[in-house]
């Protein structure tokens, strides 16, 4: 049973004092329902992702207590991908015909923190200052730059693209373009990454309405088909966040595994993809993820970024809505924000940031602690 997306909705990303995560979730759901032209009472099941909100399904208090199966999921930075994967599977398995995946979050400013013991790490790992995700990203891109000849100005170019695209996106958190010089001159947080090369935890919500592909044209003239959605976790030997040690043997990261599985499931290859959303926790992560998802060989990013290949009018537009760098990262919502953007791009409804040439195939990727990735492939 194939799956189609017939509606998407977003509560803007940013900081919204006095607005709860649940409120934002309800806004995103209402917008997705309106976009799909269905009513809440038509929805047969739901999955909701959140980190900060214990029971995001409590959103039914604002929408209607219809008694549907409504399951909450949390899976690190791949939470939204997990909600989407489970929602799609529910339809593929034939359990239900019409459902919703929603993500919502409301984080405090500053780097994420947690009790290391909850990540199978010893308490001293946190006490000594190792339990910091940003320094992992610093190490990973610093090693990648050493191994494949990527320069620091390339990281600044990638971040500048994020802010520039964010300026075109009314729902983005950061809507002010920043120059490469300003990005390079901002304080270094974890060498080679500066403050403006990182995204920030923030607030927001996103929702998508899904149905059986064969029913899609009953709801909309522009269904977007969910051709694949996958989640993978790290294998032994992958270089992953929150690792007090790594074995000598090396393995590809969880993104590589999730990506390969998604291409296989979709019967689509990276050469067929027209528009891409990648996890850009930092500018370096976007550079690495370009290769990990098969869009270029390791090291080719240096020239491709310089040539503008990943700009909205480039050969392969990446993070057209500004990505995490301009939108921030409300963990539960982030991956559905990516899907929201791809759906708009494939429908030709992305306004000022519309990719030219009628893109047919879109791709999204999430990555986060403790080594979990989610990929989806969508097409018209």
């Amino acid at each position: 049973m194939d799956v189609a997306i017939i509606g998407v909705g977003l509560h803007p990303f940013g900081r919204f004092p006095g607005v709860t995560g649940i409120d934002m979730g309800a806004v995103a759901i209402r917008r997705a329902l309106a976009d799909a032209d269905v009513e809440w009472r038509d929805i047969q099941f739901a999955f909701a992702g959140s980190y900060e909100i214990d029971n995001p399904d409590a959103v039914v208090a604002l929408l209607g207590l219809t008694g549907i199966p409504f399951t909450d999921v949390y899976n690190g930075c791949a939470t939204a991908a997990s909600a989407l994967t489970l929602a799609a599977a529910t339809i593929r398995l034939g359990d239900h015909d019409l459902g919703i995946a929603v993500g919502m979050d409301k984080h405090l400013p500053g780097a994420f923190s947690a009790d290391p013991r909850l990540y199978a790490c010893p308490p001293w790992y946190g006490e000594l200052g190792h339990f910091v995700t940003t320094k992992f990203f610093g190490m990973k891109i610093n090693k990648y730059m050493h191994d494949y000849g990527i320069s620091r100005p390339t990281l600044a170019k990638v971040a500048a693209k994020g802010y520039r695209n964010g300026a075109l996106n009314p729902n983005a958190f950061r809507r002010k373009p920043l120059s490469e010089d300003d990005i390079l001159a901002s304080p270094t947080l974890n060498y080679p990454l500066t403050q403006y090369m990182f995204c920030s935890p923030d607030e927001g919500a996103a929702a998508v309405v899904l149905c059986r592909a064969e029913d899609a044209l009953r709801y909309t003239d522009t269904p977007i088909y969910l051709r694949a959605t996958t989640v993978r976790t790290r294998r032994l030997g992958a270089f992953e966040v929150h690792s007090p040690w790594l074995p000598i043997e090396e393995a590809p990261g969880s993104t590589v595994d999730a990506s390969r599985a998604a291409y296989e499931m979709a019967g689509i290859g990276p050469e067929d993809v027209d528009v891409v959303q990648l996890q850009d926790t930092d500018a370096g992560a976007e550079v690495i993820h370009l290769a990990e998802n098969g869009f270029c060989p390791d090291g080719a990013q240096e020239a491709l970024v310089s040539d503008g290949a990943f700009e909205i009018d480039g050969r392969l537009p990446v993070n057209t809505d500004g990505g995490l760098i301009a939108n921030g990262e409300p963990i539960g919502a982030s991956g559905l924000r990516q899907v929201h953007e791809i759906v708009l791009q494939l429908r030709g409804e992305a306004g000022e940031r519309q990719v030219p040439g009628n893109p047919k195939v879109g791709y999204t990727q999430l990555y986060g602690a403790p080594g979990t990735s989610g990929v989806s492939i969508l097409s018209r």
Binding site: D115, P116, E127, G129
Partner: protein, 140 residues
């Protein structure tokens, strides 16, 4: 002033030549740090203590230029915070171990450089003891 390790059982202390305390799987031979009760490769529960090499090569590195969120971090904060290096040092035939580095200057650190284990002051506890931790420094 007495020096006390930041945690029991992670490095031999006191010692003139301290070593990190890991474990080795008697079934498949993989070495872990710190000690763990079961093997992350073959799931065996037959693990034995294994003292790690004191020298290796820098495999990956960065700098930590802001105080980590506290809790869990309990070292120097605010104005007392000094940036430090962080990296993985590859210990030949054993593993890549994540560690504080004594050096935080990007112009000095480079992948592949020879490193050795040292024990360095980390903070002073409420009883006035000097809490020490493991780190790696450029060797020779």
């Amino acid at each position: 002033m007495t020096s006390v390790p930041a945690a029991e059982g992670i490095f031999t202390w006191p010692s003139d030549l301290p070593q990190l305390i890991g474990s080795r799987c008697t079934a498949c031979g993989i070495v872990t740090f710190p000690v763990q009760e079961s093997c992350p490769r073959c799931a065996s529960t037959e693990m034995e203590e294994h003292l790690l090499s004191r020298r290796g090569r820098l495999w990956a590195w960065t700098t930590q230029e802001f105080p980590p969120p506290s809790p869990p971090y309990n070292g120097a904060d605010g104005d007392a915070f000094t940036p430090y290096g962080v990296g993985y040092v590859e210990l030949p035939g054993e593993m890549k171990v994540e560690t504080r580095l004594t050096e935080a200057n990007p112009d000095v650190l480079s992948v592949g450089m020879e490193m050795e284990l040292v024990v360095v002051p980390f903070r002073t506890d409420d009883d006035g003891n000097e809490v020490v931790t493991f780190a790696f420094r450029p060797a020779g």
